[in-house]
Symmetry: C3
Subunit: 343 residues, 3 copies
């Protein structure tokens, strides 16, 4: 139990209203008396009035908080994040040390204070950085480098020659460095193109569960600093994903596509290969990206177009059944005019 | 080998025609002499005549069975299911007991007659119910509760605080309780929103292979009783999926979406976040659900619309190239009329 | 370091120009001095001039190679593949022999020179062929047959009764033989249809990471010789995929669909169930295949149509907003004509 004042002193922001006691945190729709909640998007302003929360974190721009005690913050979502951590300190998921059943290959070096779980297998000539945790069932092939403070959840597979930076988080079942999909057809069958490149994952990247990132055919597939990938995403060989780009679940990126910095990509988007996506671009969910996208442009639809244009086309398409009737009617009126003329 | 009479006495239904000997079961297209098959959908009635099956399970509504011996049943598919079980009693996949290589954390209690396979890792303070089976490579984090008669296939990962009911089946490689995808942007980078909620899976749920279900940010992600999920599905943080809803492969559900009871969802459907889908609604394959759906409504397309409306729009769209010609022609006829008028 | 002559003597093809020294291989956009690269698609001809590569493998049909030393080959991609292997001989991923922690069930026989990694679990009554490798964390249920020279990467799960041919490659996290998705609704709930069929994978098949292939309800799901499947693909129960068909990532194939030989399928394609796709057909990325496809036909869009027709419809759709204006204008002109007539 903390008072609103105690909370604000730890996370920042200005208090307004009574210094109430706070027992927990909750989403605005679900908050009960004793909870603190937050409002980031003015779109949900109506919830402020309806909410049973005892206090609320709001942006400075909102005037009417219905008399509720609140913390005013420049970035309420970020402030709320810190409040969640106050009430829920991180739980320990794994004991420190190397479990006796873990297998560590020849020539591999482990950093200080690592946590290596049961039945983890690490190949030869790898390095694992300080304070990095590998949960049970993680398999790491030979010649892999993993930085400091990484956390790999259970049943993750890291293929040979992969390089992970610092503070990389990889969720359960994800595969890094699987072979790219490349075959040459000759003599009536496909022959595998050796996939001899590798994957580089820079600092502060987080990758969801059961995602797959293929190694390069030659050279590298690179996931740049601060990128956040959701679950069940496919990244093909030789792609690069620029700094601080975020990609929602089930999106697929074909080979040799280069995505810029700060790009926001919805779920189930598909990218054809060999494309260039500019910095700060955005893709609506389920888009099919068949051409390069200029920096800062928002596209949607399949094949994708600038979002406003796509909206206009979709609006027009919705009127099509009606339009068919209009045209039939116009045709009749023209026929009538033509008939009268002939008389 | 069983006679038709013996089969009917065990699974119910009324026999018509000769009491033939049955050696096996098969789909109607593939059935050979000696097989019993079934017809559930009158659409496939033509197969009855063509089929080499020696007997067939049919609904009461079908009159002409081409003189084939048959079992009449109210629900032929359900009756056939029971016949399959007669010919194929379940095979034992795992030996009873706890394999000596399984690791069970402190404070964890195992029920009666469990089957815990090699290299299974169970965390601390968990409970595993009676007769539950965990196949090799299953990893369960701390504070997980698993009910009775559950079956978790190999390489499944269950994250901390997850609750599974009774008779839950989870196929290989699936991940339950992975972190929700939530980040706050501040000071030029994304900061992880702690995902401190959990996942609740109720009784009689079955979840396919390599599916991912994220834990809630706060509170719970809930999969209700009797839900059936196929392979490679993504369920994001804070979703609820109502009783007896079925979802086909590769569908993705964004955060805080609430799906009602008895909803039928095709493959590769995408749901935007924060939506409400009414009981008994249905979504065609590859739909993009960007708005709430009313109970009982069937939608399709992306963005999705009521199915009939979408059919009309698609039919009109297919006529578009032709329509362009018609309009060009009308324009010329108007021009001609205008020209004549001027004369 | 090899000379161009030495390379050509090993991989075939005719040298043109100076016998330069080659240090490595690279893609044409990334090649530096000392590298050999290739050009397969005349579309990228402009890169030949720009490339810093010291030599280039080109088809016989290209005349102007900008004076660069080259190897002329009938199939440059295939020749390049062999050159990559010269510079990058395969790395050994696993030690020969059976790791002492591997568990091999009763009645299972292992071939000559197998490599079975740590914590591999093989069920009862299986066979594993000569020189086959199973990476750490692979789990194989009972009654599975695996041919010679197969390579199963880490955390792959193979369910009971699966049959793998020779030279089959399966990437990390993939699941073969998971239960098909079939339920009969009766008495207010779904009942599981027992999935008692199995999966057959023929020779020379390669399957990507985190892909799922369901066992048949009855009979078999069959992946024929030489098929190449990418990552995160779903193949449902009772499908067959014909010889030398290639399927890109995240495609989903519903139950009982039969795909012919030499079919090329893009990423994120969805197939409804019970369809027949002819030999040599092709599907554009993100297509939705709701009907049979004739042999040799290229389709695209959702619902899919012959590609040319779809291109025409899409081109017309893009003109729709403009068309609405035209129609409004035509209507006014007709109105004017009608008005004048009345005067």
């Amino acid at each position: 139990m903390l008072t609103l004042k105690q909370i604000a002193s730890q996370v920042g922001g200005t208090i307004e209203g009574e210094d109430v006691a706070i027992r927990g945190v909750a989403k605005i729709e679900e908050a009960q008396s004793g909870d603190i909640t937050f409002l980031a998007n003015p779109k949900y302003l109506k919830y402020v009035k309806e909410s049973h929360a005892s206090a609320i974190v709001v942006p400075e721009t909102i005037e009417d908080t219905s008399g509720k005690p609140c913390i005013r913050a420049a970035n309420p979502y970020f402030t709320f994040l810190k409040i969640v951590r106050l009430f829920y300190p991180p739980k320990k998921l794994i004991d420190e040390g190397v479990h006796p059943t873990a297998i560590v290959g020849e020539g591999t070096t482990l950093g200080k204070d690592v946590s290596i779980g049961p039945y983890v297998v690490i190949g030869k000539n790898c390095t694992v950085g300080d304070r990095t945790s590998l949960m049970p069932g993680v398999v790491i092939e030979n010649d892999v480098k993993i930085g400091n403070d990484c956390f790999l959840y259970s049943n993750v597979s890291i293929r040979q020659d992969t390089i992970l930076g610092n503070r990389v988080i990889i969720h359960c079942g994800t595969v890094i460095g699987s072979d790219g999909f490349g075959f040459a057809f000759e003599n009536g069958r496909y022959h595998k193109i050796p996939q001899v490149g590798h994957v580089v994952i820079e600092d502060d990247v987080e990758i969801g569960a059961n995602t797959t990132i293929d190694r390069a055919t030659l050279g590298e597939t690179r996931i740049c600093q601060g990128v956040k990938l959701d679950n069940l995403i496919q990244v093909a060989h030789n792609c690069t994903i620029g700094e601080n780009t975020v990609i929602a679940a089930q999106t697929g990126i074909s080979g040799s596509t280069h995505i810029g910095k700060g790009v926001r990509i919805g779920g189930q988007v598909g990218f054809a290969g060999h494309q260039t996506i500019g910095d700060g671009a955005a893709m609506g969910a389920q888009s099919g990206i068949s051409k390069d996208v200029e920096p800062g442009v928002m596209v949607s639809g399949s094949p994708a177009k600038p979002h406003r244009e796509m909206m206009r086309i979709q609006a027009a398409t919705n009127k099509l059944p009606e339009l068919l009737k209009t045209i039939k009617e116009l045709k009749e009126r023209i026929q009538k005019l033509e008939g009268e003329k002939e008389k």
